[in-house]
């Protein structure tokens, strides 16, 4: 009766196959290695979309499966981006500085190089000293480790405090919003050490790969994003498929009951919260080099709310639903806000989609929540003929036996 992992999760193989075909298609059609039908900027958009799909999987794990409506996962996403951005900016500035100082008659000392880098990076916020957070910026391996560690530790501490006090439901959502808002406000300050509202920029340039064209770099990052998404999908499918999945879905549906079964609900929540924060951090670290810039506005509370909207529209509680939702809504959003959609003249008023897109999105969110709670992913149930149990009909009560209303009618 017990089937293999793949047999229990047929969506994994289908997903990996589709992702593989998509990656191949973009590679062939892109400018870097292929025929150039897809522009480099669009390859970047697609690569970024894959990262958003990955963070949506994290959101689905934490919300769709465990029932924790976290509205702060973009904080982890942004932190991942900041961590890798620090190295990208430092290493590239270091190369530029070393090159210009090499012209000088006296070879520069290491201290002079470091000061020059500091002036380059922090001149914009009126400083030149390296803040403590930049201690490891010169080291790629350490910053890569921090991509995982910083979001993970923040989630661990925040989650421990919140879950231990049994904060649940909408209160937890508000708390996560407060966390991401507080982080954004802190980073907006010039003396936060991460260049305030300027953020980190020039991230699209890979240090040491100056002669590689962006068309090629974009393909590299596209591949990396696709690989991360594939691994993330398999890991998430593994987490939700076995008994662990049973327990977290149990927590979503009836937390107290799981507790009385002897499972430490807080431990499970903390595990999922931290794991998804790490996934979000990795997604962010791949996203921002493709975006080229990260600033505190990226982790504003609204970003995390969008994330929840994507997952809701795509269909929570199923991994491919989250991917579909993130890809569909974020690409549509790019299309609408990019001004490519023709205006809709209504005689007395012309609907400009750049302004009205958010209204449309909000409206579709409400409609999905009310009329299609399974989201786009629910369409696949129509294909496979899978239906949820018909819960229509209340229990008939003790005296008339155990039939439910529906059964009794037959």
């Amino acid at each position: 009766m017990r089937k293999s992992f793949v047999a229990r999760n047929p969506s994994v193989l289908i997903f990996l196959a589709l992702l593989g075909v998509f990656t191949l298609a973009v590679t062939v059609l892109g400018e870097g290695l292929g025929v150039g039908l897809i522009s480099t900027s669009f390859v970047k958009t697609l690569g970024k979309t894959l990262c958003l799909c990955l963070v949506a999987i994290a959101m689905d794990l934490v919300w769709g499966y465990t029932g924790i409506l976290s509205l702060g996962h973009f904080a982890f996403f942004g932190l991942g981006g900041y961590m890798i951005g620090m190295w990208l900016m430092y290493a590239r500035t270091e190369l530029i500085v070393a090159e210009s100082l090499a012209q000088a008659e006296i070879p520069p000392t290491p201290d002079e190089i470091r000061d020059a880098i500091g002036t380059q990076i922090f001149g914009v916020v009126g400083g030149s000293d390296f803040p403590a957070v930049w201690t490891f910026a010169h080291s790629l391996p350490i910053q890569l480790a921090l991509v995982v560690l910083v979001p993970g530790l923040l989630a661990l501490v925040f989650g421990w405090l919140a879950f231990r006090s049994r904060v649940t439901g909408v209160y937890l959502s508000i708390l996560t919003q407060a966390m991401t808002l507080a982080l954004a406000l802190y980073l907006f300050q010039n003396d936060s050490g991460l260049r305030g509202n300027n953020g980190l920029s020039g991230l699209q340039n890979l240090p040491g790969a100056a002669d590689v064209p962006q068309s090629m770099v974009s393909i590299w990052f596209f591949w990396a994003s696709a690989a991360a998404l594939a691994i993330g999908y398999v890991v998430a499918a593994f987490v939700v498929s076995g008994k662990f999945g049973s327990v977290i879905r149990g927590i979503r549906d009836d937390e107290a009951r799981v507790r009385f079964l002897g499972y430490s609900v807080e431990g499970y929540k903390l595990f999922v919260f931290t794991l998804t924060a790490v996934i979000a951090g990795i997604a962010g670290a791949l996203y921002y080099p493709q975006a080229g810039i990260i600033n505190p506005a990226e982790i504003a509370p609204i970003a995390s709310i969008y994330l929840a909207v994507w997952v809701a529209i795509g269909g929570r509680g199923r991994l491919y639903g989250a991917v579909i939702g993130a890809a569909f809504v974020s690409l549509l959003s790019t299309w609408f806000t990019g001004g490519q959609v023709p205006d809709l003249p209504l005689g007395i008023y012309t609907v400009k989609w750049v302004d009205w897109w958010l209204v449309l999105l909000g409206f579709s969110f409400v409609l999905v929540t009310l009329f299609a709670p399974k989201g786009i992913g629910g369409l696949f149930d129509l294909l496979t003929g899978r239906h949820g149990p018909d819960r229509h009909g209340a229990a008939l009560g003790p005296d008339q036996g155990s039939l439910r209303e529906k059964e009794a009618e037959q």
Binding site: G250, R257, L261, F271, G388, D390, S402, L403
Partner: protein
């Protein structure tokens, strides 16, 4: 006889209302006990205190041979120590199959890391099937438990309780919503379970309690009014006044 659970002098009040008033209660390691009492007598609150859901204002709850205090433990620790609880309303995980429900309840390591890498063994599978047989759901294993009838859900929950292999079972109105035949089956299950462990049944239905053939504790206004055989307590004038004579 040694005691498995000893509740002594426990009081708890909600907004000034004394739900439990200086309640003392104990039960041995293999004993069946019924608790009866009118609405608001504190039956459910009593269970809440034992399982850690409610912390009492005063009193002591001691557990097992080591006489560990349950008041310092949280719900999941108490459950792992060996106290299982069945709720009045059947609470099973409706979105999951009967098999998954039972597997989740099976007595195993409950640490997240262990559960993540848990793969069921043939023995576990056999145990789940055996339990399903016992509760009459053997051919429903792959169905979502949300599709089950009310009585079947009650049994599934009893099955989950047995799967936990608790030393003390707290059962809140197990027969609610069951047909006569189902009630008889439930009685048998509980009596069978009480041979190896302690079982406390809270029940309104006197006929059901009579069939259990066990000691009865009558609660009233948060404390014990009478205790003994069913015949003994039903002859007690106070009991007749507050409960039976209504």
């Amino acid at each position: 006889m040694t005691t498995l659970l000893e509740v002594s002098g426990v009081s708890v009040s909600f907004d000034g209302f004394k739900a439990i008033n200086n309640l003392s209660f104990d039960i041995g390691p293999a004993e069946l006990r019924a608790i009866i009492g009118p609405n608001g007598a504190g039956k459910t609150t009593f269970m809440d205190i034992v399982t850690g859901k409610t912390k009492p204002d005063s009193g002591e709850v001691l557990w097992g041979e080591m006489s560990r205090s349950l008041l310092k433990m949280n719900e999941s620790q108490i459950a792992r120590a060996g106290i299982g609880r069945k709720f009045q309303r059947p609470t099973v995980f409706e979105d999951q199959s009967v098999f998954d429900n039972l597997l989740m309840a099976l007595k195993k390591d409950r640490a997240p890391w262990k559960v993540l890498f848990y793969r069921e063994t043939t023995a576990d599978k056999a145990r789940v099937e055996e339990l399903a047989e016992e509760i009459g759901l053997a051919d429903q294993l792959q169905r979502k438990s949300g599709e089950l009838s009310h009585g079947q859900k009650q049994w599934l929950e009893i099955g989950m309780l047995l799967a936990q292999e608790p030393r003390l079972l707290l059962v809140d109105e197990p027969a609610a919503g069951m047909t006569l035949a189902e009630r008889e089956h439930t009685t048998d299950l509980l009596k069978e379970a009480a041979k190896t462990r302690a079982v406390v049944v809270v029940e309104h239905d006197m006929e059901f309690v009579r069939r259990l053939e066990c000691r009865v504790t009558v609660l009233h206004e948060g404390s014990v009014l009478a205790e003994g055989s069913l015949d003994h307590v039903t002859k007690n004038q106070q009991v007749i006044d507050v409960y039976l004579g209504r």
